[in-house]
Amino acid sequence: MNFKRYFIRVLHRLQKGPGYTYKELLVWYCDNTNTHGPKRIIREGPKKKVIWFFLTLLFASLVFWQWGILIDTYLSYSVSSSLSIGFKTMKFPAVTVCNASPYKYSKARHLLKELDELTEAALERILQSKHGDAISAPPLNSSETVSQRLDLKLWNQIPLVLIDESDPDHPVIIDLFETDQNLPSTVGSSFGILLPAVKVCSLLDLTCMYWNFTSAAQAVTEWYILQSTSILSKVPLQERIRMGYQPEDMILACLYGAEPCSYRNFTQIYHPDHGNCYIFNWGMDKEALISSNPGAEFGLKLILDISQQDYIPYLTYTAGARLMLHEQKSFPFLKDQGIYAMSGTETSIGVLVDELERMGYPYSDCTMNGSDVPVKNLYNKYNTSYSIQACLRSCFQAQMFENCGCGHYLFPLPEGVNYCNNEDDPDWAYCYSSLRSSIRHRQFCIDSCKETCNDTQYKMTISMADWPSEASEDWIFHILSYERDLSTNVTLDRNGIIKLNIYFQEYNYRTISESAATTIVWLLSSLGGQFGFWMGGSVLCLIEFGEIIIDFLWITIINIISWCKGLKQKRARAQYPDTPPTVSELVEAHTNLGFQHEDTNITPCDEVPPPGALPPEPGTPPPKYDSLRVDPRAGIDSDSDAEAS
């Protein structure tokens, strides 16, 4: 029903039309529009008219051009940053403390015994080769005994070699334990500078890779790490935790503000790099602690013992505590963000929380919680939040599993994957080394991981002093020893003891927060400003313009229809040359249109064609009417001119 009514209305409209011609419509529009230019066009004299016409055109194009720029600016999603600095009550950061050595040597010795013996022997060999002697000679003397004593199986998986590169085309490679006797021992006498290398071989295709070092110390360390990783990865987690430093041994005293705390306030976490780590104020099971005062008195004070004597000699050669400040519920990546605290000193750390709060998509390419990152976060099992480091490590582990079939010991395991060890995966060291040095794989991880939108850094001002002082050393050691071991003897020494003060600085936060520089409100007001500035227009003017266009269309439709009608009439008239209806129609149209002078335009279109067709009959009235109407038309034309001038 509605449709029908609608069509009827349309038909009606078609018959009647909006009632004026193009020119009239334009004049009407110009005169009545709220934009400022057009009115001038019709109101001014001929010269000014032209000027105003061009001015209006110019302004209109300026408006459109600048709108384009504005919309482009808006779509670039730029942000503006604001910075605030000051002190406010904030959550005290989570503090992770670890010992630099992951395990107590006394407890891990049984596992590493063979490896250590092997290392010692290897070192012996290296040191003997110092003067460029043929190293083949000493091994020959003792090789039998050495071979008997040592487990060369471990050695043969990843041997340490020396390379003489004095002849770059034919480098001489010397296995320290010379198990294969293919090497002619005669060349041994002419060694130049020997460079150590770790030889990692793939058993599948028997290709070997030499991991070159310029320093024997580095070579031995890296080699030892590879070997010990393989050994320790077989040990179950519980056992590894047991081998590490226990909280009561490590955290001797704790004071947060004025409140005493103890090792029980620390959450234990097993960190593959550093063994047992303890996190204060992690916020996992309790609300995070709040600090509302700056200064050392209101911070965390810790006394730690790292018992340096119990370090694994070949694995850790830097002694100290490793600590890190991080956000609550985030995993501590000590190798990246951690700092050392030296034994025998008091380390004071003033903290400034440097926060960066960013807007997510589309303003910048960051992730709010990591859910939109294609890498599965393996650190989820610690219940920690997403971080870029976690993503990169998860990505590496995933690649490790993909390429080597096992997981690396330093990173968490995906489901159903085991850690690599020499027995089950003899290729792993080769695989790992090639993966580690592959730029392509790293780039892949960098590309797939996204940084978090809220980036919090803890800026630390670190200062150190000797602690305990010589005068107070005695009693402090006595008390601490008593408290820990209930012994009257001093069981601590300078080499193991560390004091830590962690506190907020006077200004404890610096927050850079982003806000959208261009909002939709900004866009609209700028668009309005531009339109208003050049033409004094508003949205209503645009609607007016739209209306005019619609009217134009109507007029066009009507004209086409009447033209068609005219064609029909022409044909009809061809049959009945002097049909009175035409004239009456004309007269009627004329009288109707005559009320406004501009109609003259529509008349030529509408009615002149019929007269144009008529000339063969000179006596007919229509031309007369036409000529009659010529006069007023001229008058009207000049009139409109005069109006404007």
Partner: protein, 648 residues
């Protein structure tokens, strides 16, 4: 039909009887107020009552004032910058790391150049403080020296003040007491009270050409005095030694670097670029980008950074020049000059120093937003360093230039300008005095260097977090030292001591690059739309209105006033020359009709309102043309009905 008709009628009604060519200014104003697009103006005309009209005038004027004020504000704050901070996680370029031994040259190699100076220093110490090093050898040397005379102390005598207020001094070598009349400069005395005046030690610098012109520089502590005094002589001596010899006397890369490890791959001395620093001797830059290749880091963390074990030969240190042990490092951009002496970080021996870095890049907008320089080419100071511009470089270059201009020779610590040579007292006996004077001027900003030099617009910064740990740990000390000795031992046969070694780790904490940049807060588009907003808010005005205002208030009013003037003048002329000029006047008027001056065609409308001329020569002119005639008709009876009537 109907809308068209009414509209037409409306147009007719509102058609300006008194158009822009209105005869009087007040009519023009009236016309303007009625027809302008700005709001407010119309209100003034339409309002009934004086008070109301006055209020509207006031409101309109205040709106205009507000617009002007706000637009002025907008223009004034056009050149403001907004700061944006972007963080990008990406592969980062590893910075250049320059490592120097604190001791510039091996003392053993320097012996031949410095033996005399050292002897004298020891003697001076003995005289000043009455101690000898307890070695008979030194005493014997001192005796020798007493015989030969004091070369160095003659040039710059060390003095000890008996009483500062009386200015009586003891000259060190001779022990003579005398009173000095010269000005006394305390190094830093403006800030620190020098304390007990009897302990004051200093040295005297005289202008050799005019021996009465002397300056005494005093120090609160003899340690500083002796070091400064020694340094002056040291620079003198070093300035005479050619660069090659100096390089040979310094530490070679093999000497300094024991092991090197970067990004999981071993590196060696070939990765280090030597660089000779005048005060620190041979320094080595890792990743200097010399061959156009800059190393990048694609993984953060200490494992993937630069691990270096440095060999610091403590036994071979110069006792007077350097009083601390260790190395100095600086993390800088490849294009930057490492100002080791200014901003280096010291590395302790027997320690592992781990330095975590954060990378921040900043960019400021140059003129007109702030006074910084993009490339330094617009600074009138020639860059003496072969590196990209920085404020430090500019200040040093500026000082060096002033030094060459004033003293005739170049200061040792800075590079040589072309054509100059380093100062030494053989050639330039008064350089030290000159240098001290100049340096004081420089510090007090009297040389104008601080005014000339501008900061660079963009800079890269690595924020360092330094922490120390014991290294090697007590249990691993044994094997590590043995193996390191073997590493070293391929060249030197010696067992190393841990106090000769320093472990250094430089790494990226994370690969987030912070980029702080200034962007123009405004651009012309935004400025214009703000203008538009202001104009629209207060008066609903646009540029068209502004043009209107210009047209009406300036052009039209001007012409109206001019026309009036012209008429008055003409009238006056007419009156004066009434009798004789009667024939000529009309002709003149015909051509110089004021209406013709108008940029528009003369309309009859205006012509009608020009009062006098028309009347006078009715006989002369026919009506201008037909159309105007008709116009006239149309407007004298302003109803459209007539037209309609004519249509029929």
């Amino acid at each position: 039909m109907a809308p068209g008709k009414t509209i037409k009628a409306k147009i007719k009604k509102t058609l300006p009887v008194t158009g822009p060519q209105a005869p009087t200014v007040s009519e023009l104003m009236h016309w303007y107020c009625m027809n302008t697009n700005t709001h407010g103006c119309r209100r003034i005309v339409v309002s009934k009552g004086r008070l109301r009209r006055f209020i509207w005038i006031l409101l309109t004027l205040s709106a205009v004032g507000l617009i002007l004020w706000q637009c002025a504000e907008l223009v004034m704050f056009y050149y403001t910058a907004s700061v944006s901070v972007t963080v990008q996680f990406q592969k980062l370029p590893f910075p250049a790391v320059t490592i120097c031994n604190i001791n510039p040259y091996k003392y053993s190699a320097m012996k031949e150049h410095l033996s005399e100076l050292d002897k004298e220093t020891k003697n001076a110490l003995e005289t000043l403080y009455g101690f000898s090093e307890g070695k008979s050898k030194v005493r014997r040397d001192a005796d020798d020296w007493n015989a030969t005379g004091s070369k160095f102390l003659e040039i710059i005598p060390l003095v000890k003040f008996e009483d500062l207020s009386k200015k009586t001094v003891t000259e060190i070598p001779s022990g003579n007491k005398r009173k000095i009349e010269t000005s006394v400069f305390h190094q830093g005395s403006s800030m620190v009270n020098t304390g007990d005046p009897q302990d004051v030690v200093g040295f005297q610098l005289c202008d050799p050409n005019n021996s009465s012109d002397c300056a005494v520089y005093t120090f609160s502590s003899g340690v500083n005095a002796i070091q400064e005094w020694y340094k002056l002589h040291y620079m003198n001596i070093m300035a005479q030694i050619p660069l090659e010899t100096k390089v040979n006397m310094g530490y070679s890369a093999e000497d300094l670097l024991l092991t090197c490890f970067f990004d999981g791959i071993s590196c060696d001395t070939r990765n280090f670029t030597p660089f000779h620093h005048p005060l620190y001797g041979n320094c080595y830059t890792f990743n200097s980008g010399e061959n156009g290749k800059v190393l990048t880091t694609s993984t953060g963390g200490s494992e993937y950074g630069l691990h270096v074990v440095l060999y610091i030969e403590e036994a071979d240190y110069n006792p007077f020049l350097v009083t601390s042990t260790g190395a100095k490092i600086i993390v800088h951009d490849q294009h930057e000059y490492p100002f080791i002496e200014d901003i280096g970080t010291e590395i302790e021996t027997a320690m592992a120093t781990s330095i975590g870095m954060h990378f921040t890049r900043s960019h400021k907008l140059s003129k007109p937003y702030s006074d910084c320089t993009e490339t330094g080419t617009d600074i009138p100071v020639a860059n003496l360093y072969n590196k990209s511009y920085s404020l430090q470089i500019c200040l040093h270059s500026c000082f060096q230039r002033a030094m060459v201009d004033t003293c005739g020779c170049a200061q040792y610590a800075q590079p040589l300008p072309p054509g100059a040579e380093y100062c030494n007292y053989k050639k330039y006996p008064n350089w030290m005095y000159c240098y001290y004077k100049l340096h004081e001027k420089f510090v007090k900003e009297q040389l104008g260097c601080q005014q000339i030099c501008k900061e660079a617009c963009s800079f890269k910064e690595w924020t360092l977090t330094t922490s120390l740990a014991q290294w090697p740990s007590s249990v691993s000390e044994d094997w590590l030292l043995r193996v390191l000795s073997w590493d070293k031992g391929q060249k030197i046969n010696k067992m190393l001591n841990k106090t000769d070694l320093a472990n250094l780790v430089v790494f990226y904490k994370d690969l987030n690059e912070r980029f702080i940049s200034e962007n123009p807060a405004n651009n012309i588009v935004i400025l214009l739309s703000n203008f538009g907003g202001q104009l629209g808010l207060w008066m609903s005005c646009s540029v068209v209105c502004v043009i209107e205002i210009i047209e009406v208030f300036f052009i039209d009013s001007f012409f109206i006033v001019m026309r009036r003037r012209w008429q008055k003048a003409k009238k006056w002329w007419h009156d004066r020359k009434a009798a004789p000029a009667q024939v000529n006047a009309p002709a003149n008027e015909g051509h110089d009709n004021p209406v013709c001056i108008d940029e528009d065609l003369p309309t009859f409308n205006t012509a009608l309102h020009l009062p006098l001329p028309q009347e006078n020569h009715v006989p002369r002119t026919p009506p201008p043309n037909y159309s105007t005639l008709q116009l006239d008709a149309a407007f004298t009876d302003p109803l459209p009905d007539t037209l309609e009537g004519s249509c029929h």
